[in-house]
Symmetry: D3
Subunit: 225 residues, 6 copies
Amino acid sequence: MAIERHYTRHAEGSVLVAFGDTRVLCTASVEERVPPFLRGKGEGWVTAEYGMLPRATKERTQREAARGGQGGRTMEIQRLIGRSLRACVDRAALGERTITLDCDVLQADGGTRTAAITGAYVALADAINGLRTRGLVKREVIHGAIAAVSVGIWQGLPVLDLDYAEDSACDTDMNVVMNDGGGFIELQGTAEGHAFRREELDALLGLAAGGVEELCRLQRVALAA
Amino acid sequence: MAIERHYTRHAEGSVLVAFGDTRVLCTASVEERVPPFLRGKGEGWVTAEYGMLPRATKERTQREAARGGQGGRTMEIQRLIGRSLRACVDRAALGERTITLDCDVLQADGGTRTAAITGAYVALADAINGLRTRGLVKREVIHGAIAAVSVGIWQGLPVLDLDYAEDSACDTDMNVVMNDGGGFIELQGTAEGHAFRREELDALLGLAAGGVEELCRLQRVALAA
Amino acid sequence: MAIERHYTRHAEGSVLVAFGDTRVLCTASVEERVPPFLRGKGEGWVTAEYGMLPRATKERTQREAARGGQGGRTMEIQRLIGRSLRACVDRAALGERTITLDCDVLQADGGTRTAAITGAYVALADAINGLRTRGLVKREVIHGAIAAVSVGIWQGLPVLDLDYAEDSACDTDMNVVMNDGGGFIELQGTAEGHAFRREELDALLGLAAGGVEELCRLQRVALAA
Amino acid sequence: MAIERHYTRHAEGSVLVAFGDTRVLCTASVEERVPPFLRGKGEGWVTAEYGMLPRATKERTQREAARGGQGGRTMEIQRLIGRSLRACVDRAALGERTITLDCDVLQADGGTRTAAITGAYVALADAINGLRTRGLVKREVIHGAIAAVSVGIWQGLPVLDLDYAEDSACDTDMNVVMNDGGGFIELQGTAEGHAFRREELDALLGLAAGGVEELCRLQRVALAA
Amino acid sequence: MAIERHYTRHAEGSVLVAFGDTRVLCTASVEERVPPFLRGKGEGWVTAEYGMLPRATKERTQREAARGGQGGRTMEIQRLIGRSLRACVDRAALGERTITLDCDVLQADGGTRTAAITGAYVALADAINGLRTRGLVKREVIHGAIAAVSVGIWQGLPVLDLDYAEDSACDTDMNVVMNDGGGFIELQGTAEGHAFRREELDALLGLAAGGVEELCRLQRVALAA
Amino acid sequence: MAIERHYTRHAEGSVLVAFGDTRVLCTASVEERVPPFLRGKGEGWVTAEYGMLPRATKERTQREAARGGQGGRTMEIQRLIGRSLRACVDRAALGERTITLDCDVLQADGGTRTAAITGAYVALADAINGLRTRGLVKREVIHGAIAAVSVGIWQGLPVLDLDYAEDSACDTDMNVVMNDGGGFIELQGTAEGHAFRREELDALLGLAAGGVEELCRLQRVALAA
């Protein structure tokens, strides 16, 4: 995995993540307002939107804006990204502002949602460091780091999705979002071919923990650069 | 949990499921056509749609048809129901027809998606038994039963969502879809308050397995009635 | 006709109406706000929404939320229900609050709109009685009762739609909304086959008046229970 | 009322109707195809669409195309126009073609739907005469003429809406669609202020019959010109 | 070209423009509010909307409101009309109010957008004269007049679109919006068949200048009537 | 200007264009089908779609897919790109296939539409070269090259938009699309502040011709690499 910070210049955080052939541009935008349900409560909000360029994929897919709205898969992914990142944010410390994490897939080769989460964390950290530098936040806003991997059972064997084999070739596909303390944030597992047994699940969770640990290390290296 | 079959009269399967104060009407509709991507392939399709009556909830929620479309939560839930039920269906044995599982929440008190999956399985079984009776399918179409429970960590303790405490009061909320052989079909866990540790996850999975086993027994009783 | 009150538990009024094989769930929801055009005028509002579960009908119909909006028939029906019920409400006595009547068809066998109006009246009465009990309204809010029947010409003879013969088999189909004082609130007649003559219309109106009288009696019995 | 034929040049029928200050342009468009549900049945179709220019009214109303769709009132009116005109058409004699009646209000001053029906009949007759001239239809397609009036109770008195007093000033507003044989096609009555009694209804129906008779005479004069 | 003022009665300006067989109804509506981005800035706004009646054209086109929104061509045209008319308006002198120019094509035969601009200017002038008469504006609001022509290369020759030959028959189609001082406001040229050379462009611009001069004269005559 | 080919790997043509701080990713996708209006005519189609990532701009703009559709500006730009590129394509030589040019702005700093056209030409050329290599097209498909510049009057002086000064600071903004033979394809000029005079227009056209010549040279260099 490669993490390139400051990829575009306007956003408060802007990270290009490369996972195999997958490329996701994650930007963090800070706005000095919160959604209506939070007004006047002294808390901030972190939300995410996800998109895929029409020709990020092998076959061109229809542009969602042209089709008239976001599909179910897109909504599901962006809700996952938002929940995952909120898990490391102290929203009271953030104050009444919104950070929007836009994750746009420039090139897709499996694992776009886990790449998006891993990259969005870095963009979020950059945005919050900027707020701190400008004196707009005082306390720690982020507690721990968040990263995500995809694990699966491929030809009967549990594998960490390091080589980005096509998702659909797996019998089971599980996305695991964890923090750098080894705690689970989100777990989404789907049996594609046959139901998976408890011991398979245990093996997958072990692989995931190791993968996330490595990703968190890479995030730290990137942020220290 | 109570399962009432033949709740409405037009659908090929029609089941009212009661989980605590939650009431979900699950109907299975058989249509002699398949979506475009399956035409001519000799396989059938199983899909699901989910809805909530506006006043199923404590506060009235806006009707999705009036708002102009289904929201992200609805899409996420109906995709989950569809994937879960397809996991027990031999689509070649079903033949070129579509079964749509409509899960409409009449009254909501937590756990609507797991109630929907558990009830939709019974509606699906009724619909397929009807096809068999009429000689339209020959081979076994359904392999195993599917049920779902919600488990969570409530005040530090893993609980099976038997008493339907408000979802949002839990620190962790996990929906577990399993078959009657103890295999996992879908796993969706979200840390609401703090990240959950591996041993908590293990406890939750154990509780879920027991809960699904009981639900599958109740499904068998209902279908034998 | 059967009227079952308190069918679901969250709504301020919740009535299941059965007319032949038709089943409509009518809920009344009270909200302490009014639409923009009424703000600050000291008056309340009563409105209605109508929906049909996809498999309420013999053939499954597409879910309006999935199709992206309400169709013309739905809008026409919900506008009719709203106007009909507003006719018995003193909106100044109601005060600045909105009552929304959600009429959802669980099973359809003709006459869904007249069943909806007749049931929605009972749900509305329950909701307003609740406001009175809590001391939120002082004066009489409801003046008279409202009920509706469908009448038609079937094989040359005027019939009250008591046996719920298929609407489309009639030459003329008329929905008549009246109050319990014998006054007309809404009249919607359509010649399906041939234009209807004045004497046929007179006969239909006579039948309707008798039918509504009986429905108003059943409403009183239900509300007294 | 004034009826001006051939108001625009492309449509097979094009009529400008003036009722008081109301101006509706009614065009009839013939297309050699039918909607999917009629394909191959040897029958034609007649349908209507209704629109109002944004500044046809005293205050500008939002353009429906800009707002993203037709509202409930528009759908209700165009469904009424379509049903009314289909009542005089022998769809088998029309053959597999569709006639669309577009009724666009250039200036509104009450009674737009009844003006639209009355004018659309003339446009329809012109379109069908054109088909006959070109030898495309053989048998009589239209049976009888259709016209519509609005009647109401104004300050306690039944009035024929000849002087186009503001609709909303009436206690009761009834739209009556009839044929030139005195038969009723559609009846839509709404009590605005108080419920109307049977004797008031009888008086309104008498007024309507006289009004439609006069409109049918004016249609004949216009078509003979 | 013919310009008929006061074509409908409710709008503050209402002009029917005829260019060959093209007929466009242009109304100007004054509203005492401005869009959110201008609130409190002491400036007004001028905007335009464009529509085409379904049977304005040779073949019926689908009604945009029925299709669910405005298409790209419509948006492009209404943005052009709005920009063009704003070019002659002193928005500070107008004050915090909005003038909406609705241009609806009753009959189309080429050149609808240039006819719309030319007619909308007259409707705008009428609306502003009305404001002045009522003492609502003090200073000059309009500076110069705006008109538009279409020019093109037809069979190798530059032509002013006086005879309204079908747009699509031209090799090049250019819409030129100018003021009565000979200044250019908008220029939109499209090579339909072959790219056009600089000398062709020069000839087209010369023709356009002459055409606009004549249209401005006709506008003055109409406004003086 | 910098042109980077093969920026992403799935598309038949994929070009990142940099104009000042503007970055546009232009992909060309080949599909073996044509829109309905061209079926069976032996001709191909070239079309374009345009999008802007939400944080390509200084302030975050709302995602069009989330807002429910493409706005007027987007439609106008993508129609311009499509028409411009079709001007150099022999659609009969292309055969019955569609090439879609997706132009997505990663970072915006003025001139996005002209950068998109200039880059899309290179992506189109790559896609067509690929078709030729695979023997799918025989004859020359592209005739000439297409590029676009923005020119304007800035502080009274005509300038070629080489330094990408903010569009809105110009009194006049003109987008000029030309081919490498000096012919004009599209011309879109807008007077922002004051109407522009003929001599100013002449100066702008001269500047544009020089700018396009240079861009066509850079395109040739990039395609030869």
